[in-house]
């Protein structure tokens, strides 16, 4: 390693509550090079990057900048040392101009207020450096995502960043925008800026990588220069041998489908295009189907449309042969179709309510006697649900916000199971929960599938596809790109999703 290391992490550990996200990681950033961090979701990539950029502080270990130990107390502190991070979700104010965004919070004072002319001049100079024709006065909201990314980079450069951390910068970009971004990255390298790069698009990332580092379960498992690595090497290091998430339960393949989707199309929310395009799928009782795909593949739109949250543009959704396309959410729940949403906090839980009230919310009409809720019946259902989905809680009256992520997820699942559904949709059910809880959630699903519940879940982690699914559907840009049975290998799934190839 030696003298060209500008930023080094030594034995960095970080715990969140009882979960150890990082277990003593060593990580080097080389001067004027792109160091790419590979790893599955939950491997600890984002946690490590947040520590290096001062968003959070490590539980143990130290950070060396040019060989000197430093402590970053905040992102501004890190930025003062020349370390900037560009998050997956951009942190720009869309209503302000490019110039105002770049100088937000450190406006150049002039006579009688802000020296806008000087700010504009400097912004233009930055854009010229990056060889991007972006008007300094254009509102950021009017720019394409790729250009917004460039603005974000320009902002980092304007504070003289020497080390730039990019978390999934290409996930929302078109192929030509990716090319532009890579051009900018090469330009930055030539100017001596060091870059830490994180991406799920493995092959794409390899195009710009100089140093590859692989994280798995909070530990660094491999590190090598570009010449020594190739795609299979990375995938093998990333996946390793994994925690057992269960096996698919037995399935009666002759049963009539409970859910049929015919030629379903969904309009994309932002600017034109289709989130889901002429999709066909049928699912039998007791069958577990996994939908794999990258961000923006249309998984969330598909599941939300099935549940009735967003309207379909065309096509049919049939439950046991009956068209439910025009039904409201409560009617679909009555028909046995329920959704466990991706974002628990935003769409799953009522934070002001107790564990018990959350669990009984969807099925409350079942235990009303005349006009009133029967406490006895409700308590019965809640106690059963807590036991069945194994929620660890002080009791039904505990606030739901007192639970851990995994237990909150079980409450959301328990709430929908209490309506006795025949099809359960789960959008990224393992997001933000630890490995132990993940196993419990999957076992719970497998167990109900054995009793005839059809399960459709989406995931962006390959390991979870193979675990309990009978069938794996790979989605790419609103279409089914491939369909596999569960004897498939990880590499084949990743290849079909467009993950390993540049789109």
């Amino acid at each position: 390693m030696g003298e060209n290391v500008v930023l080094a992490a030594r034995h960095i550990a970080k715990s969140f509550g009882g979960v150890q996200a990082l277990k003593g990681v060593n990580f080097d950033v080389h001067a004027g090079q792109v160091t790419t961090l590979f790893g599955e979701n939950g491997a600890g990539k984002s946690t490590l990057m947040k520590i290096l950029s001062g968003v959070i502080q490590p539980t143990a270990g130290e950070i060396l900048l040019d060989g000197q130990p430093v402590e970053f107390e905040s992102t501004t502190d890190a930025a003062r040392h020349g370390v900037s991070i560009i998050h997956q979700e951009l942190s720009l104010a869309p209503n302000l101009s490019v110039r105002d965004n770049i100088f937000l919070g450190r406006e150049i004072p002039g006579t009688g207020g802000v020296d806008y002319a000087e700010e504009t001049r400097q912004t233009r100079a930055l854009m010229d450096d990056l060889e991007e024709a972006i008007d300094p006065l254009a509102p950021v909201g009017s720019l394409r995502l790729g250009q917004q990314q460039i603005v974000e980079i320009a902002r980092a450069l304007s504070v003289n960043s020497r080390i730039l951390i990019m978390d999934e910068p290409t996930s929302a970009l078109s192929a030509s925008e990716v090319e532009v971004l890579f051009g900018v990255i090469r330009e930055l390298k030539a100017r001596g800026v060091s870059i830490v790069y994180i991406s799920h698009h493995l092959e794409e990332a390899l195009q710009v990588t100089d140093q590859a580092v692989v994280l798995r379960d909070g530990s660094m498992v491999a590190s090598a220069p570009r010449e020594e690595v190739d795609l299979p090497w990375i995938v093998q290091k990333m996946v390793g041998s994994h925690f057992d998430l269960g096996t698919p339960p037995p399935l009666n393949r002759d049963a009539d489908p409970v859910l049929e989707i015919r030629d379903l199309s969904i309009r994309m929310e932002a600017a034109g295009g289709k989130a889901v395009n002429d999709l066909n799928l049928s699912v039998r009782p007791g069958e577990i189907v996994c939908i794999y795909g990258l961000m923006g593949a249309g998984r969330t739109e598909l599941l939300e449309c099935l549940a009735g949250r967003i309207p379909a543009e065309g096509g049919q959704i049939l439950m046991r042969g009956e068209d439910i396309s025009d039904m409201t959410i409560p009617e679909r729940i009555d028909n046995g179709l329920v959704l466990v949403p991706e974002d628990r906090q935003r769409d799953g839980l009522v934070q002001t309510m107790s564990v018990g009230e959350n669990l009984s919310l969807a099925s409350i009409l079942d235990f009303c006697r005349r006009a009133f809720v029967s406490d006895r019946l409700e308590r019965g259902i809640v106690d059963r649900a807590i036991k069945e989905v194994t929620v660890k809680t002080d009791g039904p009256d505990a606030p739901v916000t007192s639970l851990s992520g995994g237990n909150q997820q079980k409450v959301v699942i328990g709430k929908m199971l209490a309506t006795s559904p025949s099809v359960m949709l789960l959008d990224e059910p393992s997001r933000g929960i630890d490995v132990g809880a993940k196993g419990e959630v999957f076992r719970l699903l497998a167990q109900h599938a054995e009793d005839g519940l059809a399960v459709i879940y989406s995931t962006s982690e390959v390991e979870e596809c193979i675990a309990i699914a009978h069938r794996i559907i790979v989605m790419n840009r609103g279409r089914i790109a491939a369909e596999f049975s569960n004897d498939i290998t990880r590499e084949e799934i990743m290849a079909a999703s467009g993950e390993a190839v540049i789109a």
Binding site: P341, V350, T352, K415
Partner: protein, 349 residues
């Protein structure tokens, strides 16, 4: 051995410990303690305050605000706000007054004098209708509640002024010959010494409390205010719930309008001016969160009594009207401050 035992006891019962925390009790029961404090202080300052007749008089004042507050609570629980209640109170009172004057049907050449019970029913239906307009604007057309009901505040007040040409209906007594006497019964009569207005407040509160705590609708209401998107995905008919609370609030305002006109034996288009703010203050002092999802009828009633007993107490001891406003304002801000302490502290953990 001994140390480990105390350790486990401490960790096992954090909630029990919190329950015996006097600061916590003071915070959670603040509206109640505020009311006790107000009663004690004014009783010491004036010999006229702590008398049965004074309490009954004050209570019938509170009845008006209390009715509006209970309706307002339902709306605030869903995360909305109803700024129109003061105007709806006025337009309902005027509507009732208008009916009492007799409705002339020109084509038939007759004047109909509906009996008092029919006047009350029609007026309540009228209030419900106005509430429904608010509800549809908010739930279906997604107009922010603040704006929709602000618009209704002006429209309803304007309609009230138009209906009377800016004047006041003074003759609400009806006549025996027409069979429509008894309108003043609501405002002046008492059952077992309790003013009818107070009894009506008690009944409406009871209905609201039962709705909130004992029915599926109540649960839906709390869920809609706590997290609209989660409630929607759980199959809660969020739109219907939203419309219903505005209808409920409109009904409460109409009832308050009838009771007030009856108490005054006149129906004026300027009645209830700025009462919506007093109603909101009652709800907030009662511990409800303006963001929705938290609040009780009991708390709101206490809040309404705090405001009413404070205002009347200040009058009794002869504090100038200007100072009354200062005190009321201070109490409201203090209440919100305590709200943010309670809910802010919880959210962080």
């Amino acid at each position: 051995m001994e140390t480990t035992q105390t350790m486990t006891e401490k960790t096992a019962q954090p909630s029990a410990w919190q329950r015996f925390n006097p600061g916590r009790i003071l915070l959670e029961g603040r509206a109640f303690f505020a009311l006790i404090t107000i009663i004690v202080v004014f009783s010491l300052l004036s010999p006229h305050y702590f008398t049965v007749s004074n309490f009954l008089t004050m209570s019938s004042h509170v009845a008006i605000f209390g009715l509006l507050s209970v309706g307002m609570l339902m709306v605030i629980l869903t995360g909305g706000i109803d700024l129109s209640v003061g105007s709806v109170l006025a337009v309902s009172g005027v509507f009732a007054g208008f009916l009492m004057q007799g409705v002339e049907i020109e084509s038939a050449g007759v004047i109909l004098y509906p009996p008092v019970w029919a006047v009350a029913v029609l007026t309540i239906a009228f209030g419900a209708f106005i509430g429904a307009i608010n509800g549809v604007l908010v739930a279906i057309f997604k107009v922010p509640a603040f704006v929709a009901t602000l618009g209704m505040l002006y429209v309803a007040r304007g309609v009230a002024l138009l209906m009377t040409n800016g004047l006041t209906f003074n003759n609400l007594e009806g006549s025996t010959a027409l069979g429509n006497t008894g309108f003043d019964w609501l405002g002046f009569n008492r059952i077992a010494g309790v003013p009818i207005g107070v009894i009506i407040l008690a009944l409406v509160s009871l209905v609201a409390a039962l709705l909130l705590s004992r029915t599926a609708f109540g649960r839906w209401l709390y869920a809609t205010g706590g997290n609209y998107r989660a409630a929607e995905l759980s199959g809660v008919p969020t739109r219907r719930v939203t419309i219903s609370v505005y209808v409920f609030s409109g009904i409460c305002a109409a009832i308050a309008g009838i009771v007030l006109s009856s108490q005054l034996t006149s129906a004026g288009p300027t009645a209830g001016f700025t009462y919506e703010l007093t109603a909101i203050a009652g709800v907030v002092i009662g511990g409800a969160a303006l963001a929705g999802g938290r609040g009780t009828v009991r708390g709101t009633l206490l809040g309404a009594f705090v405001i009413g007993f404070l205002a009347d107490g200040l009058v009794i001891i002869g504090v100038s009207e200007y100072w009354q406003q200062v005190f009321t304002g201070a109490v409201i801000v203090l209440a919100v401050l305590l709200n943010s302490l309670e809910y802010g502290g919880r959210r962080k953990t």
